[in-house]
Symmetry: C2
Subunit: 189 residues, 2 copies
């Protein structure tokens, strides 16, 4: 394994090989990892199911404020939203159908178990840390595009067939008809 | 589930019940979670294997600088060390017996797969985020002591029988005879 960031003649991203792809020890410096751009969010994959025998993956995302990330669920994937910086509003549905929304600020933490509808909106430019069931952590690469550009970048907006194919492959149910019935607005979380 | 922090007549920590104990959605404010003191480090459990069907647990730790956390391995547990603040030196052994050390600063990330010897030393007061195979995340409660005190606190030093019993229960192999043969000292990670 090499941490050398050399451009590859085959056009692969410079970060290729930065993760070992099997359970071996490694370290990453700040900013190292597998980078992808999805709707202008910069995702950095730090560890994948390939290293954890499918148990979990961990990534960060750097997100400008924006629109609601549409409601969806994933039957096989538990998901953590940990806000490192900024402000992110999480929309959660309980098993009894009750809806909630929480504004998470730095240090805030949200857990969405497999199979429950959720959505979120970045209300102030944010850095998030995600932990997910192993295999799901490459959704930004599947829906978005690999990148080596760590600065502000034009949003990569996937074409609908690409988005739908990635959703199918990741067992994501998109729920465009879902309406959030949130009467209370819990702040300060 | 309630986020009310009320003292319990039975002497349980005030954080009891802050995690649902099953796969249900929830959020935590900064500082909320299950707190434990081990050697003066304040651990805050954010999600456990009880919520993730045994897949993973996530916790933070706030650590003063200190001595080497002794070399150990755990055959069934993959472990992530993500440095949020401060500086932590990680000692890693590869499968071929090669030893490495890396100083991780804010944003640095280390992965230790199951079964390999490792150790670490907090060189500047640090905040760490840990992700581990589900079940291992309560080691600070098993080896240390639950607490509701989030400030600087006297170190809780477990008696040896308690430490050994917790190590057995968590399948941790303590390796007091292990010597780190680190010729290079990789900095700046």
């Amino acid at each position: 394994m090499s941490f050398q960031h050399l451009r590859d003649a085959d056009g692969r991203p410079a970060w290729s090989g930065v993760l070992p792809g099997r359970p071996e020890p490694y370290v990453l410096r700040r900013g190292e990892g597998e980078h992808a751009n999805l709707f202008g969010d910069l995702f950095t994959l730090l560890v994948s199911g390939d290293e954890t025998e499918g148990q979990f993956g961990v990534f960060t995302s750097t997100c400008p404020s924006g629109e609601l990330i549409p409601t969806h669920s994933h039957a096989g994937t538990h998901e953590v939203f940990h806000v490192l910086d900024g402000a992110v509003r999480l929309f959660l549905a309980d098993r009894d159908g009750r809806h909630r929304t929480h504004l998470l600020r730095a240090g805030g933490f949200g857990f969405v178990p497999a199979g429950l509808p959720h959505a979120y909106r970045v209300e102030e430019a944010a850095q998030l840390l995600g932990v997910v069931t192993g295999g799901f952590e490459r959704f930004p690469q599947a829906m978005g595009t690999p990148t080596d550009d760590l600065g502000e970048q034009p949003p990569f907006v996937p074409e609908v067939p690409r988005l739908l194919a990635a959703a199918r492959a990741l067992d994501v149910e998109l729920m465009p008809q879902f309406r959030w019935d949130v009467t209370g607005d819990e702040e300060g979380r």
